[in-house]
Symmetry: C2
Subunit: 377 residues, 2 copies
Amino acid sequence: MSGDQHTAAAGTSTHPKGTNALTPQATLARFREYMVGPSRFMTLLSVFELGVVDALRETPGLTAAQLGEKVGAKADALEQLLFLLVKEGFVAQDETSGGYRLAGLAEVAESDLARALAYMNLIKVTALRQLYYLTESARTGTVVGLKELYGAEGTLYDAVADHQDLNESWLKLMNTVTANIDPWFFANIDIPAGARVLDVAGNTGLGAIHTYRHKASDGLTVTTFDLPDKESKALANFRAEGLEEHLSFIGGNVFDEIPKGFDVVLIKHFLDMFDKDNVLKILQGANASLEEGGQIHILVPVYPEDITQTDNYNVDFFPAFFIGAAMGQGGPQKLSVYQSLLEQAGFKVTRAVTKSAAEIPPDVIPVQAVLSATKVA
Amino acid sequence: MSGDQHTAAAGTSTHPKGTNALTPQATLARFREYMVGPSRFMTLLSVFELGVVDALRETPGLTAAQLGEKVGAKADALEQLLFLLVKEGFVAQDETSGGYRLAGLAEVAESDLARALAYMNLIKVTALRQLYYLTESARTGTVVGLKELYGAEGTLYDAVADHQDLNESWLKLMNTVTANIDPWFFANIDIPAGARVLDVAGNTGLGAIHTYRHKASDGLTVTTFDLPDKESKALANFRAEGLEEHLSFIGGNVFDEIPKGFDVVLIKHFLDMFDKDNVLKILQGANASLEEGGQIHILVPVYPEDITQTDNYNVDFFPAFFIGAAMGQGGPQKLSVYQSLLEQAGFKVTRAVTKSAAEIPPDVIPVQAVLSATKVA
């Protein structure tokens, strides 16, 4: 765990706090960066979707006309879209032949590209159009874009059940995120041998499986707690892993009552979906379910204590995503806010670790933290 | 005109040409900038749309709760959206009271903000959702997003006739752009006294009016040439200005035949809408309509000759906009490409001036050029 930040306030800021460092010219220039955000995003993603990157990897030196023939698009359109990739140095163009080759993109590992493209696809499918309605979503506390585009009431997590495109882009991303962050989460928590573990909002059991794989001990059991309609899929997943003796499922709603009889509660990828009063309710529910001395471990993206810290991109993405595209509420908080909410709910925080930005691949947006706490009398 | 760039190749580049300066880490970090483009854009615009900036201008120091009451939105949502504006230094938050005040935004002139917000509104209404379909638009050469979202066949310029929201955001922007750029255009061209001027694709006559206002001389006449359905509005505009003696309208299609009998042809805000073969057709049509020695003046955004030049944002916006949101084709070209197309069409280029980036407000995307040419034998 070398390199982890063990305090919340680490990191550097380029803005002197409390001073107004931005001139009007700098403010307007920054607006222009924001204005080209949507077009830059889709231009880059579209060049991948059109198959141009694969074509150039296979055959460097293709001209726009040759690329057009190969990928089934008009040469003029490809030339236009590729201008930006040449400007960025992702792709290079030979001045004499007009042929393109991968430049910056040539050396990026396939697995890194796949991760970045999964995230870009999530943003495109679940957010790009929906964010048009962000203002109305913030006013109403509902995801207006899901209603307008899909006729869906409720949240993104309700809508994925009915809409294949949303489900595919979201599942692919969640599997990527979980695979990347769970090893770090489990390396940062202790689970006593033989403990009875409850994975709150554990969906279809992947967290329970990971818990067992990372923390197996004699007598360890892990129970997934989520809405009843997740049960059959979760049980099937447990059987497929041959872990049905150790893993189980309880159906219910986290805002009603969290099941009792557990030593350790895990809450992963969940608290950032809710406004603070709902986070407090969930933590109070977890506290009520535990005996004194019981443990809770939380995995959640966090904002830096100094919000002007520039290497944390949670602030640039999650507020709009949760309010305008996923929940109509929510968004991460600072580590200190989660600490305070745990204390209000009757816990004593024993450990709070934010993943170091230096340990996160540079395309990855979420900066995650683990908070561990014990129920006090 | 001091400060104008009189050559096409001016400007600086941060990328050494022909070398691969981007490491995989830098490429992935740049991807992350792109990924947060849509969410950054809508977060900023939404804070304006919610009325938060106006509220803070009127009453500095309001907390999220007070703001929520004032603008009719939940405090939690406002706090989440404002994190980004605090990160950027647009807004500041007092650590003790939690109150917000305008920081970078405080000193930006209202007229500058109005211009930037008109452009942001255009991007939101005409592009944000539509760009979801960019790949399919590039494949088909049609604006798939207009079809999907509005059931509209054809281009954005067709759709504005039937859809009030598109029309409002587009008209407001075009009026802003025209008001800002036309004085520079007319300062850079000569129109002989008493000339007969044809404004090709002159819409409802604003260009003709501007031409007369900037270049009035004894006997000067200006004729707007555009689709026949623009005629009544154009004639009404001419009468409203008291210029009906000097200005007239001819209905027709630029791809059929451009009217004869004129000394000077103007083509403003138009050529960037088309692929190169269509641009050549239009220029050939203009050439056929003129006598030897006749003049043509073009106003068009241009890409820098060195596409990696970082202070030209045309590349970051227009390809996606024209292909995915407006035309299903088109996008600007380099100044040298327009020069070459003029020559292919039978003109001799007499002047080509790109507006200096230093003369353009820092939020403005289009970098425009004027090309003047004479019909040769």
